[in-house]
Structure formats: C-alpha cells, structure tokens
Amino acid sequence: MNAVLGVTLKGVDAIKVEVEVEITGGLFAISIVGLPDAAVRESKERVRAALRTLGIPIRGRVAVNLAPADLPKEGALLDLPIAVGMAKSTGALRFSRPSVFMGELALDGRLRAVRGAVPAAIMAREKGLDLFIPEDNAHEVSLVHGVNAFKVPDLRSLIDYFRGDLELQRVKNDFKADQQKKIEPDFSDIKGQAAAKRALEIAAAGHHNVLLIGSPGSGKTLLARALRGILPPLSDEELMEVMLVRSTVGISSSRGRERPFRPIHHTASAVAICGGGTNLRPGEISMAHRGVLFLDEFTEFRRDLLESLRQPLEDGEIVVSRSAGSVTYPAQVLLAVACNPCPCGWFGDPVEQCRCSSNDIERYQKKLSGPILDRIDLYVPVPRLTPEELLSLEGKCGESSEAIRERVCRARSLQLERWSDIGSGSNSELPEKILRTRLGLSREARSFLGSVAGTLKLSGRGISRVLKVSRTIADLDSSVEISTAHISEALAYRQTGFLS
C-alpha cells in the first residue's frame, strides 16, 4: 500500500505529511485531525465539491489523519493529497509509486498555485518521490534539477492519469533565467555623486554594508536602488536559495538572476521584517536574501527592531521561535542604510538652513551608533548638490551600471578564488585571524596604516574595517598587494562626525 503524501512547510523546508483517509458508514461528515490550521480544515468543502464534480461522491463518515500528528499543518496545499486520499479509499484510483501531491483545489476541480513548491521539489528529489504540482508552480520547480515532477492542470486529469487514460506533462529542468534586464535606475542616470558611486562599487565588490548620509532630496534612495544593478548576477546556487524563499512566501514568478532589493519602512513590524506570524512566514530580511536590504530613515527605526536585525546580520540566517515551533530562514543580505545628517535634515547644506540645535544634532548622531552600525564598513556622505553644482555637471554622465558591474564581478571572482579554502565568498566576511596574516598588505601600506592609526585614533575594529575595505579596493584594481593608496582611500569612508 502506497501512502498518499503531502507536504507542509517548516521554515524553508518541506516536511513530508502522510495523508490517511478512512471512510465508515453513517451520515456524511468529514473530520480532519493532525493539527490542521483553518485553511486545512476548510479544505474539506473544496475537496468534496471537487470530487463531486468529477462524479466521485463521498458518502458516510470520513476521517482524515495527517501524520506526523504533532506537526502543525498549514495551507491550502494539502487540498490535493486529501482529495487523492479520499478518491483512493473509495477505490476510484490507485497508484504504484510513492508520490507527493500539492495544490489548492477550486470547487470545479482545477488546481491553483500554492506556496512552497520549491521546497517540496527539493524534498521529493531527496526522497526519490514523484511530485504532482499545479501547472502554475511549474516554472519555479523547473529550477530544481533531478526531480520527477508532473504538471497537473486539474483533479480530473490526475485521476485519468492514474487510470492510465492520460499522460501528464513532466516538468522539464529548463529553468531559463531571463536575460538580465536593464535595472532601473542605472548609475549613468544619476548626476554627480561620484564619491557615493565609487563607495557603492566597493560595497558591491566586497559585500560591505553601507550607510548613506545626506539631506532630503540628495539622492540616497536612488543610489541605494541603483546598487542592485551593479551586483553580480545570482549564481545557480544563489538563485535556488532566492527561489526557495520566494516560493515559501508564495511568489512563483521569478525575476531571473536579478538580485532582490527589499526596502523596509520604519513603521514595519518586527514580524514583517524578521518573519513569523501565526503561520510562520519569512520576513523582509529573508526576502532580501542574497540581495540588498535597504533601511531608509534609519534613525526612525525603533530600537527593538534594530536589535532583532542584529542576529541575522551576524549569522546570515534568522531563527524565528514561536509557540508553533522554531524555524530558520536564510538572511544573507547586503545592508544599505540611509539617514539624514540631523533631525531637520539640512545640516551642512549650503542652501537650506538647518534649524537644529547642536544638542539635537548630538542626540541624533548618538542614535547613529549601536549594534547595526557596528556592522557597517562604508560611511558615505551624499551631498545635496546646489543648482550651480548640478549645472556644472551637465552633460557629463558617469559610467553605466553594466560597466561597473563588470569590475565588481571581476573583483568578486578574485575573492572567491582567494578565500575558497576558508569558505568565505567576500572580503567583508573575513575572520580576524585571516585579516592579520593573508591580506597582502605591502610594507609601505603597513607602516602608513601604523602611522595614521594613532593620529586618527582608529580602534581595533576601525582598523580591521579599513583593512577589509582596502582589500576590496585592491581587488577592484586587480592588485595582489594592498598599497598605501588603497588604504588611504579606505580611510575616506570612515565614519566622521561633522560636529566633533
């Protein structure tokens, strides 16, 4: 006897759920046990209606057991296995291979797309099971190599398939990441801001977190949005991880190899950012996995929100613990943070007058420290250009995102090669020990750093930050050694107060 299998999601993993159906005599009733959530409990209405349209009437008392009994099951994706289980116990169909079914049923028996198709496909591949999925989920599943998956348009075709009357289409492993579209905004669209562009190039090349400080209207958000365009395209493995998260949330469309960019607003709840909720879902930080997480108006964020971001930034994954259990979501993000230089925003602006008292500014800048800021390697002031300054730049447009991306990719591949033995992909993740020994610091650069460390009062952390950033600058230069010029450029991206 082959059990009917379904799946439920735990984090980004699909857990196998065995669907057992028993039909006994009595007045018609369906009861579902095994910690179903509301969506699963309601599936009985959809399932019965769908079966009835197919001419498989269900009579008597139906008991549906979802094993394992102690795992909470959620979502409409169990509609299909329950329907198959019922059909099987009325004898309407039989099958020989252990199979996993997933899909939400419409009342007329059509199948609707569900979230979690990619995790289910991975699970099916590992366990060597056949997988039956709604047609609309086929695109994302085509990404998973080596899974034996079938596209099911509706319940009738599935039953016909098992009766041998119909062939179902297999899902081919032909996932084609769309040609990288031009990502808006392009760097060449942004006037001026040469310093910020350069800093973002370094951030992209070495995966350094970046803080943009500037007055309203200076173009912080625009720059942050453009950052995505200069990141290297997703590798196969990364694409898989991104799709896994997207599938878990229920977004089945793909954006090709474009990296995610998730801006979050300071009014967002901790659940929205970190993930969770009554039926656990990944939050924004996981949606930004392998891409850019952008926090605008950083100083407006509540302290507890920032606290909750600290652990995922450190570990590259986030553990969400709820009464329903604890799950882990991936959260490897490039953090871009933007804020005003002072409460009113006009501090240091040559045209607008700042109305903040120095106490206000001091208090404000105090907020710009703490757990998240410790993880930021590049501080990038973004000046609001005066009309004259803008005019003087008229006609000069900078490099396109594509040209920058090429340099970034080259620098990334240098890093991948160099750090392959320590399992780190970028300069920003380097452990302290490596920093001291394998950085390729030239003799002059070392003595230069030694001499300025005192006058600039660099802390231990400050020095390692400068070292990491200068390593990336050297990589962009395709230079084996870190020279004095690399170090001194890195020094320009340190946090420097404008007041003290």
């Binding site: 018609f28 019965r48 008597g60 008392r61």
Partner: protein
C-alpha cells in the same frame, strides 16, 4: 382526517411511487420515534436514505423546500440515527427531501433534493 393531513399522505404516496420508479427499494413508511418521524426510508444502491416529504398547495408564502429549518433537520438526524441503530445498518446513510407543489392549474411539481445535511454538524 383533516385536510392537511390528507394532503400530506397524498404527497408521500406520490413520492414513494417516484422513488420506486427510480429503482429504489422502500424499507418503510411513517416510522415514528419519540423524537420524530421518518416519512419514507429507502435504499439507494448501497446507501440508506431517509426521505422527508413536504407537500404544499400553491399560494403558501414559502416553497416546501424552505420549510425545513435547522430544528426540523436536527429532529430528522436524530430519528435517522435511531433507525440506523435499531436496524443495525453499518453503511453510509443520508437524508433527502422531496418537495411537492400543487400549482394553481392543478399541475403537480415534484423536486428531489439529495443529502440535505451535506456534511453539516447536526
């Protein structure tokens, strides 16, 4: 016998005849228990069916199928359970409704609503 009871009896006869024409096997008529009454008990292939018959002449406000409310349904379910228990029936069973309307021009309309509890918790 009062008029309305006569009408009821006439309707039930009509319904029984219709069911027999369909090939159902009639197991009993007007089986009453303390809590309620089953108009017709019949077999539809492997399933036991309790049939409630409602007959109305034209002009009543409600059509006959609407006159079975939740209280009546509960009574029917209770009676059905008694019957199943008493007759040691182990297969599936259901409750059907046959609505008979005598129209103005003496036309008779018979409608059959199968499984009126439809998995509801009665």
């Amino acid at each position: 016998m009062a008029d309305h009871l006569l009408l009821g009896k006439w309707g039930e006869d009509l319904a029984e005849k219709k069911l027999m024409d369909q090939g159902w096997k009639i197991l009993g008529r007007n089986i009453s228990f303390k809590g309620g009454e089953l108009d017709i008990v019949a077999r539809d292939e492997k399933e036991l069916v309790m049939v409630e018959v409602r007959t109305r002449t034209f002009g009543k406000i409600m059509p006959p199928e609407c006159s079975v409310g939740p209280d009546k349904l509960r009574k029917l379910v209770r009676a059905g359970k008694y019957y199943v228990l008493k007759n040691k029936w182990e297969g599936p069973w259901r409750i059907d409704l046959i609505a008979i309307t005598v129209e103005e021009n003496e036309n008779v309309r018979i409608e059959h609503f199968p499984d009126i509890t439809y998995g509801g918790a009665y």
